[in-house]
């Protein structure tokens, strides 16, 4: 029997199939150990988070309820290779509305942090980290802005202690992680 070519619809429905071989039963515990994510197992999938999520209204793929279920099921590889996790705007509506007090936005943060540990990180964060290391400020403040402060009657900006900032990048292990991140 000739194999029929897969239509986009069949491909999409195959993606919905969860194979037990891709489930990591320890993943939920790994996430549950991360700060604010301790109540991961209490989610009973009511869907309040997705219903009240402003991002979910403007994007067809970002669904907090689904991310939590996938975490409970241990679909680690799918989660940690999915750019959709970077869409959370951290408005914390989900945290305030969850009837089970599951720190949903914290779990999304845990997923992001783990993704970074594996060497994947959106460009914007690389820039922010580089700016902080170089200047102490998240944005490089142009010389013109510094000069203009005087004309506007504002005091000079406080200087960063760059030596301390660099030490903190090192001692927390963030410097090592940044080296792993592919550009």
């Amino acid at each position: 029997m000739a194999e029929t070519e897969k239509t986009p619809e069949t491909k999409a429905s195959e993606k919905m199939v969860v194979k037990s071989s891709e489930m990591d039963p320890r993943f939920k515990y790994e996430i549950g150990k991360m700060p604010g994510a301790e109540k991961i197992m209490l989610c009973f999938q009511c869907g309040t988070c997705t219903a009240d999520c402003p991002i979910a209204r403007f994007n067809d793929f970002y669904r907090p309820r689904k991310l939590i279920r996938m975490t409970q099921l241990g679909l680690k590889e799918r989660l940690l290779s999915n750019d959709v996790i970077w869409l959370c705007s951290t408005c914390f509506t989900c945290i305030d509305h969850c009837p089970q007090d599951v720190g949903i936005a914290n779990i999304v943060r845990a997923l992001r942090n783990l993704t970074v540990e594996r060497g994947r990180m959106p460009l914007v964060y690389k820039e922010l980290a580089a700016n902080i290391l170089k200047t102490g400020y998240a944005y490089v403040i142009p010389e013109m802005r510094h000069k203009k402060r005087g004309e506007e009657g504002l005091p000079a900006l406080p200087k960063a202690n760059l030596e301390s900032v660099a030490k903190l990048f090192n001692v927390t292990g963030f410097s090592k992680t940044l080296e792993k991140v592919k550009t």
């Binding site: 945290i95 943060r109 959106p122 400020y137 406080p158 903190l168």
Partner: protein
Amino acid sequence: MSKYLLFLGCVIPYRIASYEISARKVLDKLGVELVDMPEFNCCGFPLDPVYHDMMLTLASRNLCLAEQQNLNIMPLCNGCFGILNHVNKELKEDKKLREKVNGYLKEIGMEFKGTIAVKHLIHVLTEDIGLEKIKDTVKKPLAQLRVAQHTGCHVVRPGKDVGFDDPENPKTLKNLIAVTGAKCLDYMDETECCGAPIIGIDDKISLQLAREKLDHVRAVGAQAMITVCPFCHMMFDLNQPRIERAYNEKFSIPVLHYPQLLGLAMGMSPDELAIKELRVDASQIVSLL
């Protein structure tokens, strides 16, 4: 005690100086003494998504600087407030976490002790100065003006962390606006996010969120929008022309920082309050006053 350590954050000095200028002016008028940070680093908020411990140490280093000055720290930015307040609270309550963070801070000769409080500008105005005292400084009530407020997220959420105001129906900024004599209008989805935190990831979604808010604000006939966060302000003011181009529609809604509104009510001139620095022209509403 009306003396605070002013925490400017990064966005304000980078591109929203009008917020700092107007905040310093009105706080001076209210008899508040501001001390500038002796040293500064980013609050840590931008790095929380990628490395939680980095955020913790950057935030706690700023808290330690405030402790050394023995002053409560006052951010003008919702993002800075949310992070500094959260970390301050967590380190005060969670001994194990405090030990861990102090382990990091030891490297730079610092230790978190938990002796100060973090207060956003609107908390200082409401709790420490009080609406009555602010009212006394209003020389020119803005009775002709109808505005809409955008409180923003991190100054009220997560409610458990902030413990001030009702995140589902925040009143603090509304009350502060009422004191100026301006009418504060209710509109659809007042508590929704401005979209700023993901503008570097997906600017389309981010601008759609801001567009929808501007649309709701316009629908009720507000002449201006009032914010208390540089990120929210950037979305509605700096990005308003971009939104207008992308969606082929015109809003022309000026977005004032709350201290600018208060300053006008105190009788200060628009120039003193850097109203001209706003991207969306506010001269029409100023001429009404």
